[in-house]
Structure formats: structure tokens, C-alpha cells
């Protein structure tokens, strides 16, 4: 494919080609015409074609040197051909051999990232993003290799509507889609964790942060500006897919040949080999042409930044107040008729760490919802939240979970990779901590460490990754919601006790009705858009408001110096901010401030009543 253009190394075609792709990807509908690795099974994608992949950088491997330009020699004719190694894993030589001693060889450097799909991405996101790609569906002839790859089944299973689009010739214009195929015969229903999944992962751990995750992981090769990428960044990578079976063959061969002959080969342990060179059929390679940071993974929103989409923004802003009212009613209904708790839940869901002042993260709003009736209730609550936010994770804080789960990522020096943990989450992920699951018993060392990690996450919005010899701090931006019976043992920014308007006798009935009462999808979509947009809005405080807030604070301190502290002002400022944003206002108004004060007061007075619930009070 590339060979023709590549054999001429001095034309500067490379920069032009990348430029070309970038330009086209900027166009409005171009990205949608590129098949996504997220929702198209690997075996429907043509090797060496352009694909996109929405992912999280889970680990960064060491940079590698590759043959940027190399020369091949045909043993028969002695003809030398200069070839390009960029965007390729394997040299292409056919019958000829690579001449390692050629003067023309150019060594270049690239970086490898291990990427996984965004952890905790909810089913509705996957569903919508795969649907949104409307491709003219004609006939499909399965041209690809035989489907003996073991991951095929699981790939099928997780895909709701696999559609294959034959890629335009990458060397030519992607605008002229030559043939586009869709296939109807491969439609399968999404099923839960197929058995093949467990079978395949047993011999190759794909290192997903969350247990039970599925999907393709990918080795992304980055050719430029790799310093700009950070661990746990979410990206949409456009690149050339490489699934050359030669890669796996090379790996196999190394496993097979014992290392006695060549000591250098034995330096890399078998584990390391397996991690760094997994079979390409399981972990495809993606050679990055272009990457776009994903500011949100809500497929209902335009992918470009909000500023670029003023039309969309203004239309959403105008109806924000009304959507908010609807959402409030909905939440009130779910939270057993507690309107105040519903209000706080909205605020929590749109909170976002927008800045850090030395060590202090600003804008986080961890909510502790205490007084939740039963375990089944919290599970339902999670299911509802799951329907609304793009990615979320439910962590039952049972003793067993806390003692056994790996929350904090840990560097595995044997395999030379970062073994992922539950807390390695993309930003804006909702972490749902169910403390009702916690029973009496003893936390062991891991348990204590896990609880400490959760505490650090909530207070500082950072996770200390364990590098064995030292720890490394990675900032994060995760919304933590703790549901508990009494006050949580974890710190939180704000605690609200649920006041049920439902009598305990009717509880069961009510609970089952919640589940029945599902919203229509258009309604749900409205909520989804609302929550994502509110989180992305900018916000500021005018000078007058600053003054009046200050005055208010001084007055409050005068009235009741004991109960109002700097901490309270911190919280009230966050509440006021979120309240304004939830109404679609981008600056603080007097009303919002008073309202923030009011609901905070309501909440505090409620807390007074429940002061002595358990021994966790400060």
C-alpha cells in the first residue's frame, strides 16, 4: 500500500500525508466514516486500514527504536530497494532480505502506549456510539482471514451491530469511499461475559482496570509529541491498524526456543514477552496518525469542544433549567421523595475538578448519601446513575472486596508493566461506593491500604501508584458517591441523610415500582446531555459577588462562630458554583448564592437530627 510512496524517502511525503489525514479528520462527518475499533470486531477490519479507537492510556512502555528507512536486497538479483518502516511493525521484503549494514538505514524512535477502552463505559454509550455511525449497508463478503482467532467470539458478543466498512485506500483520498460494506448476518445480541472471555484471559491478562471488562486493548505506537500524553488520558486515536500474524509468530518462536543459546534473549522474561508482544490477534497494534483528546465520552454531544459548537451550546443552555426541573422530579422520586437529596445528587453528578491550587483540588464534590434503606435499593440507585452518566463503576465495599481487590495500580517489575487497579479511571468517571455492603470484621494490610487509597482519592483527588520502591502520585478527577447507612467511614465533602417519605411497610413495593418506572429514551438522552454539558461549562464570580460573599461569611461567623468554619465556606462556594452551573448560569448570581446557603442550611439542620447515628462523627 504505502510501498510505492515510501520507496522515495526524500519527498517529504510523510509530513504531507499526516497533514492530509488531519485535515480530513477535522471535517465534520469525516470521523464518523472511520470504523471504530470500539464497536467493530477486529476481524471485520482490514489490516493496514485507518481505524479509530476511543481509549484510555493504561500504561506507557519504553520508547523503541525502529528502522525508519531500511534497504532490502533481493538475494537473486541483488537489487536494492529502499523502504520505509514508519507505521509498520514488520519489514516488508517478500523474497528479499533486509540489509542491516546498509548506509541508508535510518533509525527512528517511537513510543508505545498500552491502551484499553475507557473503563466503566456504560452500555448506553457503546450502543449509541455504534449506532450513530450510519453507513450505507450493502452486501458484505467476508474477505478476511479465517476466523480461527480465539477472541472472535467474544468480539462478536460484545458488539451489538457490527458493521464493516472497508477502508478507503490510505494512500489515496479517504473522501472517496470506494466500496463500503455492511453486513447483516453478523448481528448478535449482547450477552453477559461469555465463557470464551475467561478462557482467553486466563493465559493473557489484558490488564483492564476494572474486573469483568471486555473489549479490545491496543498497543498504540506514537510517532511524535509523545511527551504531551499523560497516563490515564482519554484519547480518540486515528491510526493504521496492524494485525500482522508475523508479530505473534515472532513471539511464539521466542517462547519456544530455549534461551540457552542466546543469553540476550533470556533477559526478557516470558511474562515480559507476553505483555509487550502479545499476539496481534488479541492486542492489535495501532500506528497513530492523529489523536484527539476526548473531553467527554458522551456520544450524544458533539465531539468538538463546546466553544466550537455555539449553536449546540446555546440551544442546550436555554432548556437547561427545564431539564433540571424534570431531572429533579425524577431523582426525588428515586430518592424516596427526598427533594433535597435529589438536589445534592444533581450537584454531585456535575461536579468536576476544574483546577488545582498547590495541593488543593478545587471543585470536587464528594457526596455521602447516608440513611439508605437496603442493599437492593443502592443497587437500583446505581443502575439509574449508570443510565445517566457515560462511565461509572460500582464498588461494593464488602470486607472481602476491600481485602482482596487491587484498587491501586502497581508496577509489576517481572512483566515490566503497570498492573492496573480499580482506581485507574478516566476523568469524570462516577465511582459508586456502596458502604452498606461493609460488615463487621477485620481489614488486613491490603484492606487498610485500600481504604487509605480511597480516602486519598476523595480528599486530594489523587492516587498514589505503587512502584514498589517508591510511590508516584497521579492526579485524577473522579466523582465519588458514597452510600451508607450512617456516616461514612471515608471522608466526604458533603453528607446528606436521606429522609424517606415512604413508610417502611410500603418500601418493597415502592422499590419495585422505581425500577418499573423507567424513562423514555428521549427523556434519558436529555438528562444525559444535560449532565455532561453542565460539567463542561465555564464559570466565574464577579467582583461584586465576591464582596457580598465575603460579607455574608463575616456575618455568618458573627452570628455563630462555632459552626461556620473555613471548611464550610469552601463547601458553600463549591455548592454555589455547581448550583449556578446546574441552572446553566456561567457566573454566580445573588440568588444562587442565597439558594446555596439555604440548601446547605437545610442539610445541616437535618444532620443535627441524625447526629448520633454511629461512632464515626468527628
Amino acid at each position: 500500500m504505502f510501498a510505492a510512496s515510501q520507496s522515495d524517502p526524500n519527498s517529504g511525503w510523510e509530513a504531507k500525508a499526516v497533514e492530509f489525514f488531519k485535515d480530513h479528520l477535522k471535517e465534520k462527518d469525516a470521523p464518523t466514516s472511520v470504523p471504530s475499533l470500539n464497536d467493530v470486531p477486529l476481524h471485520y477490519l482490514k489490516p493496514n486500514s485507518l481505524v479509530k479507537f476511543r481509549c484510555l492510556i493504561q500504561d506507557m512502555f519504553d520508547p523503541e527504536f525502529y528502522m525508519g528507512v531500511y534497504e532490502t536486497v533481493d538475494p537473486a538479483t541483488k537489487a536494492k530497494v529502499l523502504r520505509c518502516g514508519k507505521y509498520k511493525d514488520v519489514t516488508e521484503c517478500g523474497v528479499s532480505r533486509v540489509d542491516f549494514n546498509s548506509r541508508n538505514t535510518v533509525t527512528a524512535e517511537r513510543q508505545t502506549f498500552y491502551c484499553v477502552p475507557i473503563p466503566g463505559e456504560n452500555p448506553w454509550v457503546k450502543e449509541i456510539s455504534s449506532l450513530s455511525r450510519v453507513v450505507p449497508s450493502t452486501s458484505y463478503a467476508p474477505t478476511r482471514q479465517k476466523r480461527s482467532y480465539e477472541e472472535d467470539d467474544e468480539m462478536d458478543d460484545m458488539d451489538t451491530q457490527p458493521q464493516k466498512q472497508r477502508e478507503p485506500h490510505p494512500g489515496m483520498s479517504p473522501q472517496s469511499p470506494t466500496e463500503q460494506h455492511g453486513n447483516g448476518d453478523c448481528k448478535r445480541q449482547e450477552t453477559e461475559a461469555p465463557s470464551s472471555q475467561t478462557a482467553s484471559t486466563s493465559h493473557l491478562d489484558l490488564n483492564f482496570p476494572l474486573p469483568g471488562e471486555k473489549g479490545p486493548s491496543c498497543l498504540v505506537k506514537v510517532y511524535e509529541n509523545w511527551d504531551n500524553f499523560k497516563l490515564n488520558d482519554t484519547l480518540e486515536v486515528y491510526g493504521i491498524l496492524s494485525v500482522s500474524p508475523a508479530l505473534s509468530a515472532l513471539a511464539d518462536e521466542k517462547d519456544a526456543s530455549s534461551s540457552i543459546m542466546d543469553p540476550t534473549e533470556s533477559m526478557e522474561t516470558a511474562e515480559e514477552q507476553r505483555v509487550h508482544c502479545p499476539p496481534a490477534s488479541l492486542v492489535p497494534r495501532l500506528h497513530m496518525l492523529h489523536a484527539r483528546p476526548v473531553s467527554h465520552n458522551n456520544p450524544l454531544l458533539p465531539s468538538a469542544t463546546l466553544e466550537d459548537n455555539s449553536a449546540f451550546l446555546s440551544s442546550t443552555l436555554s432548556e437547561m433549567a427545564s431539564v433540571r426541573a424534570e431531572l429533579l422530579t425524577y431523582f426525588t422520586h428515586i430518592l424516596l421523595g427526598d427533594a433535597l437529596a435529589a438536589e445534592y445528587l444533581i450537584l454531585h453528578l456535575i461536579s468536576n475538578v476544574y483546577s488545582r491550587r498547590d495541593v488543593l483540588p478545587l471543585g470536587k464534590f464528594t457526596l455521602n448519601l447516608s440513611g439508605c434503606p437496603t442493599a437492593s435499593y443502592t443497587e437500583r440507585l446505581y443502575q439509574i446513575i449508570q443510565q445517566l452518566v457515560p462511565s461509572s463503576y460500582y464498588l461494593g465495599m464488602s470486607l472481602q472486596n476491600m481485602n482482596q481487590m487491587r484498587l491501586v495500580p502497581k508496577k509489576d517489575y517481572v512483566a515490566n508493566r503497570l498492573a492496573s487497579g480499580v482506581l485507574q479511571l478516566a476523568r469524570h468517571t462516577s465511582l459508586f461506593l456502596d458502604e452498606i455492603q461493609l460488615e463487621q470484621g477485620q481489614l488486613d494490610t491490603t484492606g487498610v491500604r485500600n481504604v487509605t487509597a480511597l480516602g486519598n482519592l476523595i480528599t486530594w483527588q489523587k492516587v498514589d501508584y505503587d512502584f514498589n520502591y517508591h510511590q508516584m502520585e497521579f492526579p485524577c478527577n473522579i466523582n465519588v458517591l458514597i452510600v451508607s447507612e450512617g456516616r461514612s467511614l471515608l471522608p466526604s465533602d458533603c453528607q446528606i441523610h436521606l429522609q424517606s417519605q415512604v413508610t417502611p411497610a410500603n418500601m418493597e413495593e415502592y422499590l419495585s415500582s422505581i425500577h418499573m418506572h423507567t424513562q423514555t429514551s428521549s427523556q434519558l438522552n436529555k438528562f444525559r446531555i444535560y449532565l455532561s454539558v453542565a460539567r463542561l461549562l465555564d464559570y466565574n464570580i464577579s467582583d461584586e459577588m465576591t464582596k457580598s460573599v465575603e460579607d455574608d461569611f463575616v456575618d455568618m461567623r458573627k452570628d455563630d462562630p462555632q459552626s461556620v468554619s473555613a471548611e464550610d465556606l469552601h463547601r458553600m462556594l463549591v455548592v454555589a458554583r455547581l448550583l449556578s452551573l446546574s441552572l446553566g448560569q456561567t457566573s454566580l448570581s445573588r440568588d444562587s448564592w442565597l439558594r446555596a446557603k439555604h440548601i446547605d442550611m437545610l442539610r445541616r439542620s437535618r444532620m443535627e437530627q441524625h447526629k448520633c447515628v454511629n461512632g464515626n462523627e468527628p
Binding site: V69, T91, F100, A246, D358
Partner: protein
Amino acid sequence: MSSPTSTPGGCKRGRNTNPATPSSEGPTSPPSQRRRGQDSSTGDLMPMPTSPATDILSPAAPQDTSLFSSPRPSVQPNEVDMSSPLMYGTPSSRVEGTPRSGVRGTPARQRPDLGSVRKAPQVDLHSEYFIFLRFLQRFIDPTSNEDENAGLDLNEPLYMQKLEEVVYLSVLNSAVVILLYIFCILMLISKIFFPQEVIPTFDMAVNELFFERFPDSILEFQIQVRPYNALKTRNMRSLNPEDIDQLITISGMVIRTSQLIPEMQEAFFQCQVCAYSTRVEVDRGRIAEPAVCRHCNTTHSLALVHNRSVFSDKQMVKIQESPEDMPAGQTPHTTIVYAHNDLVDKVQPGDRINITGIYRAVPMRVSPIQSNVKSVYKTHIDAIHFRKTDEKRLHGVDDDADQKLFTEDRVQTLKELAAKPDVYERLSSALAPSIYEHEDIKKGILLQLFGGSRKDFTQTGRGNFRAEVNILLCGDPGTSKSQLLQYVFNLVPRGQYTSGKGSSAVGLTAYVMKDPETRQLVLQTGALVLSDNGICCIDEFDKMSDSTRSVLHEVMEQQTLSIAKAGIICQLNARTAVLAAANPIESQWNPKKTTIENIQLPHTLLSRFDLIFLMLDPQDEAYDRRLAHHLVSLYYQSEEQMEEEFLDMAVLRDYIAYARTYINPRLSEEASQALIEAYVDMRKIGSGRGMVSAYPRQLESLIRLAEAHAKVRFSEKVETIDVEEAKRLHREALKQSATDPRTGFVDIAILTTGMSATARKRKEEAAQALKKLIQAKGKTPAMKYHQLLDDLRGQSETAITKELFDEALRALADEDYLTVTGKTVRLLA
């Protein structure tokens, strides 16, 4: 001097190799260069391996020796062999694999760390040779420090003395290593770009020089030159294809070491038919098995004899970027390093090292079956020299490793800053700008960051004096204590942050564990040892268990940590400053109680803190207003605005590092007078009321604080203003924490004995009153507890609390006057 003219071609080629775009002109790659070089060398040397050494000499020696001044009339053929740069390390010089017992019993071996040597060098080795020779003879280390070159005359050429040392001490077991600090630009260029040619030349020069000066000495191995600190010292992250085959120095941390790998250097073949033996050198990991026996001409009769082949030691060491060098939000890179011969087992996992070596890239092995090759190189570093950066940490003050390199500009800015009269205020306000006010606390922490001067009294038997300032913050929850701790932890390079709740004594000190790989017992250090020369931040100090806290006693005064467990008995240095935060026991600070009563910490520990600050809510309107303004601005100001207001965190960090490294203030005459006065004054205040208000420990604290303040000013002398500030700060801290709530006086006894002098007096009074009461009751051997309490209450004018009563009873019991069993009080005697 001709090397610059000959090198540019090579340098340029190396630099032009642009990794991104292949350019048409001269697109050569370092690996390919190397390949070529090797090919040509092996091609030329084809006949050599099998021919004896003396044969070889004849073509090579005449052409070279003429260039050198060295060959003396008496030299043996071997000697001439050594002196030829082109002969060095070529297969011919190791025809006899084992050390020979000849006159010059020093075998020349190929150095596995350098790889095979090219025949046609690209640098003018002869001039290099002479420059180096002159360097060795004349170099006087201007920056030499005593401990490294103990016993050497600093005014004599350094390396000549080292050579003498070699002769007299015969300290060498495997190889003599001359460590060479790279010294001049000229050498540097050639050395960095062509280490494979240049280093052997140096080796040879050294050996030449050595045998010239000490013709009679016999060395088991050759002297090797091991350059270190190549100026290209760099971060692992910045290695790129240009560095291939060049001398580099990188720093990192060892994370894994492999087992020892015997690497065949020379294969020994014996003919099965006629027992004729031959040796074949390993070339690029392959052995060309001779097909025909040269003696009896039998084909395929030669068999490899393993135990007569020559092997060299090899070890794989994996190093990882040290956490300080890493940009935020990325994972550390790792690099494979091969250590050869005597460098094997020199480093252990966990060591921080600087490694000098040659960066290599090898293409993935071509498999014979496949024509497609993975187009990726494997990279590694052949180590020439390891330098442990934390080696000396266990022994003494390690200035070397901590030494940050400051550029001239930076030093200038720092000095300008120091010259400003309000530098102290500036710095303290730059500290944790997100935390409002608490100026004195910030000042205290600032002084802690600088620390006092180290004083060594080991000779007089007093041991080290503590130079670190310990600070305890206590106060209401939610007064941003933890935030302050977090800030400090993030600011200092060697900080540790632990929480009292989660840490055990073991986690703080050190523990012994079995290494899963080596099955050896290894000492894993805990937070206190790790923060040696740094600051250990301990949050929730009050929630620590007693056993854990007891560990701190030794650390906070003696600055060492003794460990005796699992057969390991040792004393580790833990010269760490402790910054602790504690919450009052009743969650809210009770102003009616003393510090001790509020936080329930043993006074033995409290007295080890130089400064104890209370962080309380001041509760006045003006303060509230400023606080509110501060917080609100925190939430809406943009980053740039904030940065303008305050000093950059990086500047602060550099400032502290600079002061800690270079400034070592001493007390001036006036300052000592002022200190004496201050101390006497403090003692006087108390003595007026019949109690002692200062102890020598407080004097030591004052000295430390004054020194730290002098450091802030970049002053080598502690002057009166420093003492004044130390006094003020100390008094402020005392006022806050050691005020007796009953009398309102500052009473140091609260901190030193845990009880204020007035309280003690009251206890004694109560005991006396109780005694009188019991005596008045006459001969009743046993009394009811409650009865007695009521009686005493009735009798006394002051309120008698139950605690006071208990204490009085205990005091009497101590006098053997009575015993208390359950609820009855029995008289003795």
C-alpha cells in the same frame, strides 16, 4: 590536537540523523555504522585468531612503535604488543586465555563492555594517546574532596598517585580500575562519539605509563580506564537514536538484576581424531565452528570443550528512571544495562545509581525461516561504570548526591532574592499560598525546611547534634493542617507523608523481608529512614499507637534508628525533620486545658519538638473577612493571577536546596551572647514563680532556629537579628502551647513534665490535706473511697476534682502511707 579535524565528519553524521524525516543526504544510522565497523574489523582480522601472538607482532609493531616514545630497549615482545593502540584488545593479544607467568604477567583481554574494536579508527588515536598521557601525568584535581581521595596529596598529580597506590596496596583482585573524571572538551568529543576506539587507547596509555614507572610489578590484570560523569549526563527519557554507540551517563534506580550469565568469550575446540586443539573467538554472539582440523585435516571432527572455553561474567541490570526526573503524569521508563566482569553484582535492586556506559541498539534477531523482520531494535547499555548515588547516605552527610546543579543565572536570581530585606517574609508567604494566614506557623515551617547547621561532636563523645527542627501542629479539625503537611511533602525532594492511623512502627522504621528472587534477607526501609535529610510529615500524630510513637524518641533526638531483628542489627541514619499534626482528644480544642491534656501525648515526646503551634480559629471579624476574601479568590482567580502574587514553587525549592547545600552558618560572638541572654531570661521568668521555664533543650532549639534564619538570609554568620527572630518565634509557639490555662503564664514545665508547676503544687497541697484528714480521723485502718472524697471536698476551700483526689491518693501511696484496693483505702504502718 588533530582529533577535532577528524571527528566532525563523524559527529555531524550522528547529529544529522533525524529520527522523524529521512533526509536524502547521508542518511546513515549509528547502528549501521557499527555494523560496518565490525565487519571490516573481523574481515581484516580473519587470519589472526589462530596465529600465535609473536607472529602477529611483526606486522603491527614496527609501524606503530615508531610513533611512541615508550618502547624501551629492554621491552619484551609482549610489551610492544601492549603499546600498540591497534593491537590492543584484538584477538591476538589473548592467544593464551589464562594469565601467563611471563615477565609481564598481565594478560590483555578484550573488554566485553566495549565490544570488538574497529580496525580503522575514525579518530586520530595517536594524538588522543598523547593528550591522555599528559593528562595522567599532570592532572591535579582542583575540586577533589578529602574523603574520596583519602591519603593522597592534593597538590600532586592525582592519577600518578593512584598508580602508586596500585603498586603498594595491591588492592586489586579482578581488575585495576582507574576512574576518570572527564576533563576537557577535546577529549570529551572524541570520547563520547567514539568510545570504542578511544577508551582502549586510554587503557593502553595507562598501562604503558604504569609499566614505565614500575617496571618490576606484576599485575594479574590490566589496568582499565573507566570514565565516568560524561558531560552528556542525561535523563533516561532524553535518550534518542543519536546516542547509539556513544558514551552516556544516565541516572536511575535499579529495579531488577538477573542471575549471573556466563558469556562465552572464546570457544575451545578439540579434534576428536588427533586431539589437536584450537580456540575460536566469539563474534557477535556466534561461534564459527571450524569445519576442518588443521592438524589432521579431518572434516567435522572438532568438538567444543566447555570447561576449557573462556567465559566472562555478564549480568542484566534493569534500571528505571528515578522519580525526581520524571515529568508528572507519565510512567517511568526502564532501560536494560549489561554489566560485565567485575561490575557484576555491584548493584542491588533499589540502589540509585549513575551509570556510564555505551548505548547500543541491536536489531531483532533475524529468524532463518522468516524473511519479514520486526523492524524494531533492542536497546541496552553496556556499563562501564556504576556510581551509587545513595552509597554514602548510611555513612555520613552526602552532599554529592543531593547537589543540585544550579546554573549561574539561577544562583544569581537566588542571591538577588536573598539580598532583599524582606526575603524571610516573602518566602514564608510563598509557602502554601492556598492556606490562609498562620504566618508564624509558616515561618516556623520555613525554618524547618532550611534546618540548622550540622555539628559533629563525635570526637568528644557527645555524638551528633540534631540540626533538624521538629514541629508539631495541633488544633481544631478542619484548620488545614493536613493541607500544610501535604504541601511540605510535595515541596521537599525527600519528603515522606504518613498518617498516624495507618502506619505501624515497622512502616516507619525498617523491616526485614525475604527478597522473593534472591531469597536473601533484605532490609526494607520505612518512612523515617527514607526521609533521611528530608522531612517526614506525620498526620494524625495523636492516633498513633504508643509502640509506634516510641520509635520516634530515638529518631527525634539522636537522629538514628536502631534495628535488631531477624539477625540484622544495625543503626540507620534518620536525620529527618518531623512535621507532625495532631488533633485534640476531644475533637475540639479545649482552651481550659493544657496542650498535654488536649492531645494526650507523652511529654517526653513533646519536649522533642522545637516548636509546637496551635492552629485555632481566631474568630474575629477582620480575620474572617480576610479569610473569606482569600478563599473566594482561590475559587475564581485564574492561575496566572495567583502566580504573580506569590513566589514560584520552583524558585522556593531551589532557594531551599541552595541554602541547604552551600550555606553553613556559624554563631557569631554577639549572637552567642544574645542566645545566652535569651536563655538566662527564660530561666529567670520562671524562677520568679518558683518554677523552671527553660531547659537546655530549649536553648538548643533557639540555636537551631537562629541558624536556620541565618540560612534564609544566605548568611554565613548567625547574627543578633537571627537570634531575635528565633526568640520571637519560639516565644510565639510557647505562648500558644505552653500557657498554663489556670494562671495564664507561659510554663515550659507543661511540655517537659506534662504538668504545669501550679498543677503540681495543687497536687501536693491536696495530698497534704488528705493526709491531715486521714490523720484527723484517727485509727481507722480502712476507709471507703467515696467517703474520703466527700470528706476532703467538705474540708477544702478549693474545688477537688476526682482526678485531683486520685492523684493525691497516688502520691500518698507512693510515700507508702496507704494503699488503694478497689473502693477501699487502707492505711499502712
